[in-house]
């Protein structure tokens, strides 16, 4: 049995195990381990179990350990802790109170504000997962408390989280830039309009959703005076301070995005303690919840990472790209095939994994067609972002599910996601059809 066949069987096995309610992390790690063992054991034609065990365990270990053993990703527990601390210190409740009194007349206004908050947070972090886990922690419980439909309260943030990689800074654009030797700054700037377009699309989805089903987002009909509104806004000052410190610190060259997470967390604790909202016990409790959530999120991410390494061994990705290359398609069909390949891989694999598996093959191919690599990068990142919210393996959805717990099972979140996905596909088509949306800013600015 050759490696690609093992790969295809593995994809089927993932689907089956997931349907049988096996936790995602266990599914990915177990299937990858068995698949890798088979590939190594039968590589030379003779069955060599000992060597295969050593290689498989080594691969499984190093890919999960290296993922966890990361300085940059320390941003994730820190931002999640920030969410918990902000909640316990009443910081988030006050923002939401302010959002509520200001947007009370707008149906679904708070969900729209949450998506915009995701857009704002995207300007801080380069990672969609960090964006989803932080905003999920901050926004979703508040929306649920206001009586929002749990599909809307979760899906809006899971989708909003995907802005993290489109709006700069962005880890995915950095990796793409390294693989294509294109200017990372131009890529960053190219992502701005598509990011805002996506954001506008998500707001539109919420608008239509609530228009059709007003019960999904309860509206406060009480008349609120402007004095009360400004008082509510003023009470939300700690959030504004934190936001200004983060943005000022990152763009003013005082700290990196990872450092911003730590500085802000320290600041939030300080504000909470000075306002007598936090006690040692409540701080410790916030960190315990942080740890439990972070552990589960990283465990899924580690499973995904191991699975990518396994897929690399199968050679499935080059096999698919080869077929496309051999077909000598026209530009239209080529783009369509690439989009399908990325959507397909996006169902199972994480964005960085897909990039390292496919970019070495796809980029030379599109270069021969003379396509603009900056524009192509935006299209690829958009495709990868979509993969974060498509079933069966949608990392952003899992992150939100993990954060909200029993209040919203995964199928409810995916059900909500479906509406956001339709807009994502429209945005994708626009980006592919009109390269100017991506290229306008970089071409006029630099």
């Amino acid at each position: 049995m050759d490696a690609s066949t093992i790969g295809l069987i593995a994809f089927a096995a993932v689907l089956i195990l997931l349907a049988l309610r096996v936790p995602i992390s266990f599914t990915l790690a177990a299937v990858a381990a068995v698949g890798t063992f088979c590939i190594f054991a039968f590589r030379t034609g003779t069955f060599m179990p000992e060597r295969a065990i050593r290689a498989t365990t080594s691969m499984v270990f190093s890919n999960s350990f290296d993922l966890i053993h990361s300085y940059d990703l320390s941003m994730i527990p820190l931002f999640i802790a920030l969410g918990h601390i902000a909640y316990k210190a009443d910081i988030t409740t006050r923002i939401y109170h302010a959002a509520r009194v200001w947007l009370s007349a707008v149906p679904g206004g708070v969900a729209m504000a949450s998506v915009m908050g995701c857009g704002g947070f995207s300007a801080i972090t380069g990672s969609s997962i960090a964006c989803a886990s932080t905003m999920g922690r901050i926004c979703t419980p508040e929306m649920l408390r206001m009586g929002y439909d749990n599909r809307l309260a979760t899906a809006s943030v899971a989708a909003g989280g995907t802005l993290g990689s489109l709006i700069p800074p962005s880890v995915l654009f950095i990796i793409y830039g390294i693989f294509t030797e294109t200017s990372i700054n131009r890529l960053f700037v190219a992502g701005i309009l598509p990011g805002l377009l996506t954001l506008a699309g998500f707001v539109l989805v919420i608008f239509i959703w609530v228009k059709r089903d007003p019960a999904a987002a309860p509206v406060d009909t009480a008349e609120i005076s402007y004095a009360d509104r400004f008082r509510a806004a003023a009470l939300a000052w700690p959030a504004f301070v934190l936001f200004i410190v983060i943005i000022g610190g990152i763009y003013g060259g005082i700290f990196t995005a990872t450092e911003a997470a730590a500085v802000c967390l320290s600041l939030a604790v300080l504000i909470g303690v000075l306002q007598r909202k936090l006690t040692l016990t409540s701080i410790w409790e916030a960190f315990r919840e942080t740890c439990l959530q972070t552990a589960s999120i990283f465990f899924i991410a580690a499973g995904a990472k191991i699975f990518v390494a396994f897929v690399a061994l199968t050679g499935v990705a080059p096999a698919i790209v080869d077929v496309v290359t051999q077909a000598e398609l026209s530009v239209f069909w080529l783009l369509l095939s690439i989009a399908l390949i990325y959507l397909l891989l996006g169902m199972f694999l994480d964005p960085i994994g897909i990039m390292v598996l496919t970019l070495p093959l796809v980029v030379p191919l599109v270069e021969t067609y003379g396509m603009d690599l900056i524009w192509f990068g935006v299209v690829i990142i958009k495709l990868l972002e979509i993969g974060l919210i498509t079933p069966p393996v949608g990392l952003n959805v899992f992150v939100i599910a993990n954060v909200v717990g029993k209040d919203a099972p995964i199928d409810r979140i995916f059900a909500g996601i479906a509406r956001f996905l339709s807009v994502d596909v429209i945005v994708l088509i626009l980006l592919m059809a009109f390269p100017a949306i991506s290229l306008l800013l970089p071409n006029s600015m630099m």
């Binding site: 190594f40 060597r51 050593r54 290689a55 365990t57 080594s58 691969m59 190093s62 890919n63 350990f65 290296d66 300085y71 800074p169 950095i174 990796i175 830039g177 390294i178 693989f179 294509t180 030797e181 200017s183 990372i184 700054n185 990152i250 763009y251 003013g252 060259g253 005082i254 700290f255 990196t256 990518v308 390494a309 690399a312 061994l313 994994g353 990039m355 390292v356 598996l357 970019l359 070495p360 630099m446």
Partner: protein, 326 residues
Amino acid sequence: QTTLIHGEAGPNRGARAAALQWFADTVGETSGGDLKVDVQWGGALFKANAAVQSIGDGVADLGTVIAVYYPQEMQSYGIADLPLDNPDAWVGMRATDELMRSSPVIAEDLAKKNLVYIGTFTTSAVHIGCTGDAIRSVEDIKDRKIRGTGAYGKVFGELGGNMVNMSIYKAYQGLDTGLLECSQGYSYAVTALKQQEVMDNYTLLNWGQVGGLGILMNKDVFDSLSEDQQQVLLDAGRGMADEFGRLITTANDAAIETMKEKGIEVFTLPEEERAKLVAAGTKHIDAWVEQMNASGMDGAALLEEYRGLIAKYTEERDSKGYPWTR
């Protein structure tokens, strides 16, 4: 036909990728299609900091190893990272390659880790690019926010630099926002990462290189090959120094041109200032010798051999020119 998997943490772009591809192609050609090297780019199989175990355990048959991630396991290879007076990429690679290939002490040490040495790359000479004031003397390092690596970074810190921990890939953003004032690097990487867009000046230190960077192979797999196949791999590995030397020298020259076109001022550190840097590196060289001694390898002897090889290939370059210009 035997397919060998090569794990590489970097992208399939740039001079190093070209040299690795050359290695893969050469192995294919000289073996008459009997051997095929299949490169997995971008760390799909393992990251640079897991390369040694991964190759030894057979996750990949071959792989690119960066010695600085393994100050203990790859101690001997770390000789090529020392801040010696060793600025020429081709000379450095030739010397490193010959030492790694011919020293029985090193071969035995690698064999303990189930590894065989195949061939060497290098980053080429370490230089420094800055925003604002240029580094024109050792004094200028003081209080600047610098991103450095390896022993070179340590020396910058010891000379008063305010060291910022950051990967070379993030240096662009760092220089752009002002978090960094200077970034240690090498010329072709500067343009590959487009850092010329955010730098004001570039100082050629002509100091040493980060040269402990090359291809190692799983020993079980190597031993299972026929003698002819082994020879094909070893020859291609040896040829890499010339091929990569050619590529990187051209790429570095082109990078300097690009920088100048972009309006970046390119300086050369004056000879007496450079001597101060080399002198400041001495304690790190001594520390390496002691570590080697502690592991039961004669550090001083290897160092002397290495210096001799650098002198030998410097002489060859001066008398005959680079192989690709002959």
